[in-house]
């Protein structure tokens, strides 16, 4: 890939940047979940794993895990999907493969630098925006703006009159994430403190989820399901309801992360209503995708990409039921600051989002490399280990969170709560480690697909061909 950095744009094969992003994302997924497994081991086996100096302390390592997963795995898988799907939907080529290759290189460099400084203990200490200000600026300028330019220019130079639903989301999300990054990090640029910092921290954290991860993951499903099943998208109208409700309802509830803070009550009430209303885009999304599956439910069993996508779509139901209600004053009082929230975050990022973009990476890499998946068995192993590992993690942390909530409300001594939740910390480590191992299997499978996968003839899609292994 590096040879394309200084090649002419027309000499770079179509799909190069998407393949680069695809493999980068899987590598970051392995690294991110490996760090997650290590961190979970520290909580499950504190006698064996606590120690080893400050660099391996939980406080340092947790931030590295979170940022590797969000800005490595999830965001680079999104970039992969955009580099692949945006031009396809416009019946055109990517505006600039060279920009895409540079974008991916600078992304990998910047993320490595960012994670290194986090590891070294240089942090803003603001959840999800822990990177120090110079890394934030780097990510805005060298990562998200070039990505947006490539996506927007590809859409503007499309050869279709209309723009398909997926590209509405891609265009809007690449624009909104730049705003979120710059405005959300203002406290670091201008040293804002107090309640302003708290609010903007959660404005950033909420909107990175709501205006970047959630809409892009959903946009991918809008492509994958119609493309692989061959069914038309059930309803263009529901697509409108989904898109606009994401923009309107997901952008406003940041204050619901701070329900116990001295923010104005009107702001919290407003945010709390909007927080429940994130169920509107969720209802629109889930119904549109599941109704598109009509007559093709056999593919949920038979086709790996469809199985990943529909699983992610189904996980959107508990995700949004939790997200919609856990922020209300009555419920937040109980679950705030407990493992319940950790479980919910993993449901969003490792459940809903990961399964949707996993499908895009499977489909995109096979299509662009014109290679059938090396091993369906390994693909199935990946799916089931990922799903079971995630489920163990999610359920165990949800239970641990409820125990912590009870301990908090009834003022149980902290050490008693720690002892009570210890079994669930072990289960969390087991689940997380299964996810980590499954991703090593995935990386091997995709590497072997690139090297030895059956060639897909021109004009055919990988899913149209039978597996040979």
């Amino acid at each position: 890939m590096l040879k394309y950095l200084f090649a002419k744009n027309e000499d770079i094969p179509a799909g190069s940047s998407a393949i680069y992003f695809g493999f980068s994302s899987i590598v970051w997924f392995v690294i991110g979940t490996g760090l997650g497994s290590f961190n979970a081991a520290k909580l499950a086996f504190p006698d064996a794993f606590v120690g080893g100096g400050e660099f391996f302390s939980f406080g340092h390592m947790r931030q590295v895990h979170v940022h590797a997963v969000i800005f490595g795995w999830i965001s680079m898988a999104f970039a992969m999907a955009m580099m692949y799907i945006t031009p396809v939907l416009g019946n055109t080529k990517l505006w600039s493969e060279k920009l895409g290759v540079w974008n991916c290189t600078l992304w990998n460099v910047g993320l490595s630098l960012g994670l290194t400084v986090l590891w070294a203990g240089m942090t803003s200490g603001r959840e999800y925006s822990d990177f120090p200000w110079f890394i934030d600026l780097y990510l805005a300028v060298a990562v998200f703006i070039p990505l947006a330019v490539n996506v927007w220019m590809t859409i503007l130079t499309r050869r279709t009159q209309g723009i398909y639903t997926t590209n509405w989301f891609f265009a809007a999300a690449t624009f909104m994430v730049i705003i979120v990054f710059i405005v959300g990090n203002l406290p670091e640029f201008f040293h804002l403190t107090g309640l302003t910092e708290a609010y903007l921290t959660w404005w950033f954290a909420h909107n990175v989820l709501g205006l970047w991860i959630t809409p892009v993951a959903a946009a991918i499903a809008y492509y994958t399901i119609p493309k692989v099943t061959g069914n038309p998208l059930y309803s263009h109208r529901i697509g409108h309801l989904h898109f606009w409700s994401v923009v309107v309802f997901y952008s406003t509830p940041a204050a619901h992360h701070l329900m116990s803070s001295p923010l104005p009550e009107w702001l919290k009430s407003f945010a709390s209503v909007e927080g429940v209303l994130i169920l509107v885009p969720a209802i629109a999304f889930v119904s549109n995708i599941l109704l598109t599956m009509q007559g093709k439910w056999n593919m949920f069993v038979e086709n790996l990409e469809v199985r990943f996508t529909v699983t992610g779509c189904l996980l959107a139901i508990p995700l949004n039921m939790q997200g919609g209600f856990q922020q209300t004053r009555a419920i937040n009082w109980y679950v705030h600051g407990t493992g319940w929230i950790v479980a919910h975050a993993h449901l969003a990022l490792l459940g809903f989002s990961t399964f949707l973009e996993g499908a895009a990476v499977y489909l995109g890499l096979q299509t662009l490399m014109k290679r059938k998946l090396y091993s369906l068995t390994l693909g199935n192993v990946h799916f089931w280990m990922l799903l079971i590992g995630f489920s163990i993690y999610w359920i165990s942390m949800t239970i641990a969170g409820l125990i912590q909530g009870a301990g908090k409300i009834y003022e149980v001594p902290y050490i008693d709560v720690v002892i009570a939740e210890h079994p669930y910390m072990i289960a969390r480590w087991l689940g997380g480690t299964m996810v980590f191992i499954s991703n090593i299997v995935w990386l091997y499978n995709m590497w072997m697909t690139a090297r030895e996968g059956t060639v897909v003839p021109a004009g055919r899609m990988p899913h149209e061909m039978a597996y040979e292994r």
Partner: protein, 208 residues
């Protein structure tokens, strides 16, 4: 781009626009993806309506919203009564204060925001100070140990009178009703500009 309002629940576009939309919809190949023109299913419409109602019902500030200073004004006054001063036990004193305040317009809120005598001793000087200033205690919020102006309480006219004072149950709700209304009007307008949902595009020459 002209609008028609003869059948607003069917379409808001004129025949010319509908016909051009239909031609484009059927002719265009979006990377092999096609879309249908199905209406938003009735159960989904009801589910969205239920969600909106639930959003207001479950966030209604019966639980957890910080109280205003006004609800404790009677308690604070009662603290200076000889009958209360004569009670030695704090527990008995607060029980007596609560009993004396039965019938207050704030009873329901006071039940949800109980205080101890120690709490009242912290609040008392702050509430008395505000009362001396002649401000409306309903504008002031009890945030932990402090009584502060912690919410936007509406605009004042030039003569000093209030345009509208937010009741305790409406801190952020009216604005939400407007916000939601604008959203749903906007989305309905967008959707109703499409060809009527009775028409379905033909994909691959197959008539639906």
């Amino acid at each position: 781009m002209s609008w028609i309002f003869e059948k607003p629940l069917v379409t808001l576009s004129d025949t010319k626009k509908i016909e051009s939309d239909k031609v484009l919809w059927e002719a265009e190949d979006l990377g092999g993806i096609t879309e249908d023109n199905n209406r938003v299913p009735v159960p989904i419409v009801w589910l969205v309506a239920l969600t909106v109602l639930t959003a207001f019902a479950i966030t209604f500030p019966l639980w957890g919203q910080r109280p205003t200073a006004a609800i404790y004004a009677e308690y604070v006054q009662a603290m200076d009564k000889p009958e209360i001063k004569a009670i030695q036990s704090d527990v008995a004193a607060i029980e007596r204060i609560v009993a004396m305040s039965q019938g207050s317009q704030y009873n329901a809120q006071l039940e949800r925001h109980p205080v101890t005598m120690d709490d009242l001793r912290i609040l008392k000087p702050q509430i008395e100070e505000l009362t001396k200033k002649g401000v409306d205690l309903k504008d002031y919020t009890v945030v932990g140990a402090q009584v502060v102006l912690a919410n936007f309480e509406g605009n004042f006219r030039a003569d000093g009178s209030r345009e509208r004072q937010q009741p305790w149950w409406d801190k952020g709700y009216t604005i939400d009703i407007f916000y939601l209304s604008y959203f749903f009007i906007f989305v309905v307008l967008i959707i109703k500009r499409l060809p009527p949902s009775t028409w379905q595009p033909r994909h691959g020459g197959e008539h639906k």
